[in-house]
Symmetry: C2
Subunit: 482 residues, 2 copies
């Protein structure tokens, strides 16, 4: 986990003036907002889940989306810089306030405004948690497919601002694919509200795409219309052991061919990951007791009312995959309890990251067919730079997304990052598959993206936030005057 | 079909100076581009498929994406206005050149640059047709899911620039969902090339989203990486007759619940549409001989190697839907020939549009649950404005997308459009579901979108094309000085 200390003056209340100014500017909005002084707000508003720590800052918590727009308009007109905050579960130091910033928190915007069962949509405010969305969908016999470990605390506004990924991207896409309508507030308080409830909408530029994944730098998400899916009747979970990465990739092609869109997860765990979880952490159980170099965790979503028929179909397909690959390591969960046991190891990735402390962490995408070659080259480089470096590897392989954690001596971190990002870039991969950029990877982005692309990103930033008031310095290294 | 005459001076070669200037500016690129004089180019480059007719214009056809970037850079530096052209199958007067514009055609960029079977991706140049993409995918046992009537002539560059929809959006989304990587050229010749081959990529703003669906106004698409899907083993087609729109909506909820993502099309034809096709046009056959007020055309994609098992599953599900609705009108195709017969009526929508000549045509989205109420109100308004007006109705109802063609006296067209768009806007629908805006609907967009949203679109336009050189006047009513 990267530790990003944004300041060494943490915990000292140095901003009474800012708080006073905020209180003065919002004096007549007292009933619509809750304001916390910089020295009262505490670590909840000052620290990202990745342990990046910001400066103490006054916190404004609007009680409605409309109040949020007024707050941002007022503070923006006064030239104050702002950082929108959701559940603070990001991993790239995006939400912790920097010196001089005011926190605009969406945590009081927690209303689910409606579910339309025929249309398959849900309208929510930005502060609703992912888990609340999932549960509300389920109550209506529907399904919100995005799922993350932080489901209980992450906010939908943050999910959208960071285009959150997770375990079911293979079939359902990233958060972007589940957002039909969006309301966002620009730095000058302008409200862009297109809460469309339809899948097809080609009426002008699709502005919502700009806000999805831009990490709060272009506007503050206040409301969204989410697309819901039919609720699977059952899920079948299985684990397949493989001897090589080559076998893993063959298994991916085969299972997709046999199961089509019913294949909703294809998660791969390297032996080093399984060993860390079951050994070092003592969590879960390795069904193959260390004998499988790779384990594929497969989830199949079932809709057939005849459950026996569907189960036999899925089991036949998995047996066929195993037979084609010559693998004898297949376990199919026979109960919900079984399935939970199989997912436990994979679901411990959060604990792994925490336990590994200041290990170097990569969240990269590599085109599936180049995975083996690129990983091979990364291993050669690591061995050259620091022989025997411990590493832990796992990922959403159906999407080419790989998480790689390295016990890298801090003096080598820069060199290792440089080599990994170079190899990933050359392979047309991504240096941030799902966690985004924040402040943690902005230098890497600046180094590895073509200058023309960075220049256009800066033009977009200036077009929507000409004074650089929102989340300055996240994603893009700021080129605004201090 | 809307007839948009962009000029009444068609066919007169008035632009020898422009052609000469283009030839002079590109003189040293002779081997990389083909140039046609304005008076040689002919209607192919001057007329959209919707019969909107432009001014004669010099046509530049670069032979490579790199040459296209050089061409645009040169012409842009000289201050010449340009309109990118693909297969010219758009329906909103987007591609026909206006006075003073140079056509930049992608038709010589017809190379499929590669298919990656493991990764499930295809890299193409902008001038490759949709059909060529579909066939190439199939040759590799894969599937490109977007499908349109103009598949044989429309270009992928145009599909992307207009975010094309079609018959399988329900499961696979619009074109946007199938684009992983994109290369585009800005008005100043800057090349933005992010030909990423991965589903997950949160490294900075997702700039490709800006070009998808912006109809050539922000940049010219030159290359793309497309996402391919597993190829279904078989497709089962069925038609279900319904007595009311209410029944149709119940059928939608039920079939989605029973079939999940296997349901890939849910097309609805009103009796007026079926009667027009089978009666007026004499095409296809109505399986219910006029007895069904609504017909739902259902396509289910099958992956189970045991075809009998899957067919019995699908037939049971459809029977259950019919039973729940109390409908006895169900036909399931038993052969490919059967399926083609069932699709023939729906596939005749192009002929319907042509045969109806200057009928008023709507391509709207309405949230499914509001469909009945909004359509009811539209009918009341039509009856009030022009009693007994003939209309033809069909659509991709699984997506809320409706096509409505009206035999509307031309003097009433403005009033009818106004009422329809008002009702659609109030229902959080879209005034252009899949065809886009072009010049045909820019006034409607300007009238019905909130001013704040239009202002931000103009800011984006100026950020990427500060002199308004690319496709000026499409999508947005131009605010550049003439």
């Amino acid at each position: 986990m990267n530790m990003t200390k944004l300041s060494d003056e943490v915990g000292v209340g140095r901003l009474p003036d800012a708080t006073n100014e905020v209180r003065r500017l919002l004096a007549d909005l007292e009933s619509e907002v809750s304001i916390l002084d910089a020295d009262q707000a505490g670590p909840r508003y000052c620290r990202d889940w990745d342990d990046s720590v910001g400066d103490p800052a006054p916190v404004v918590r609007p009680r409605t989306p409309e109040a949020l727009a007024r707050v941002v308009g007022r503070l923006g007109a006064a030239g104050l810089r702002m950082v929108p905050q959701g559940g603070m579960t990001g991993l790239v130091a995006g939400g912790a306030p920097q010196r001089g910033e005011v926190v605009v928190s969406t945590e009081l915007l927690d209303v689910i405004e409606g579910v339309d069962v025929f249309n398959g949509t849900m309208r929510v405010q930005a502060g609703v948690t992912l888990q609340a969305v999932q549960e509300e969908a389920q109550r209506h016999g529907l399904f919100y497919p995005v799922d993350l470990g932080s489901r209980g605390s992450c906010h939908m506004g943050g999910n959208i601002a960071t285009n959150a990924g997770g375990n079911r991207v293979l079939q359902y896409g990233m958060t972007r694919a589940s957002v039909l309508g969006l309301e966002a507030v620009l730095a000058d308080g302008t409200v862009l509200s297109r809460l469309g409830e339809v899948v097809k909408d080609n009426a002008g530029y699709d502005l919502k795409q700009l806000f999805i994944g831009s990490e709060g730098t272009l506007g503050v998400v206040t409301r969204a219309v989410l697309r819901l899916q039919p609720q699977p009747r059952e899920r079948i979970t299985a684990v397949l052991g493989c001897a090589s990465l080559d076998q893993v990739l063959q298994a991916l092609v085969l299972t997709r061919r046999l199961l089509g869109p019913a294949l909703t997860s294809f998660e791969v765990m390297w032996r080093d990951f399984v060993a860390f979880v079951t050994g070092d952490l003592g969590l879960g159980r390795d069904p193959f007791a260390g004998a499988a170099p790779f384990q594929i965790l497969i989830e199949v979503s079932c809709f057939d009312p005849d459950e026996e028929r569907e189960r036999s179909r899925v089991e036949e397909s998995l047996a066929q995959v195993a037979e084609t690959l010559g693998s004898e390591q297949v376990v199919v969960a026979q109960s919900l309890k079984d399935a939970e046991d199989l997912w436990r190891v994979r679901d411990s990735s959060g604990e792994v990251a925490r336990a590994m402390g200041d290990y170097l962490s990569f969240d990269i995408s590599i085109p599936t067919s180049q995975l083996q070659a690129v990983l091979g080259r990364i291993e050669v480089e690591l061995e050259r730079l620091s022989p025997g470096m411990r590493k832990v590897t796992y990922g959403h392989l159906g999407d080419g997304n790989l998480h790689l954690l390295l016990a890298c001596p801090s003096e080598l971190a820069a060199a290792v990052e440089d080599r990994v990002y170079q190899l990933v870039t050359e392979a047309q991969g991504s240096l941030s598959a799902e966690h985004g950029i924040g402040m943690a990877k902005r230098e890497a982005l600046a180094r590895w993206l073509p200058p023309a692309e960075l220049a256009v990103m800066n033009r977009i930033k200036r077009a929507l936030d000409p004074n650089g008031l929102l989340s300055r310095g996240r994603v893009l290294v700021s080129d605004f005057p201090e």
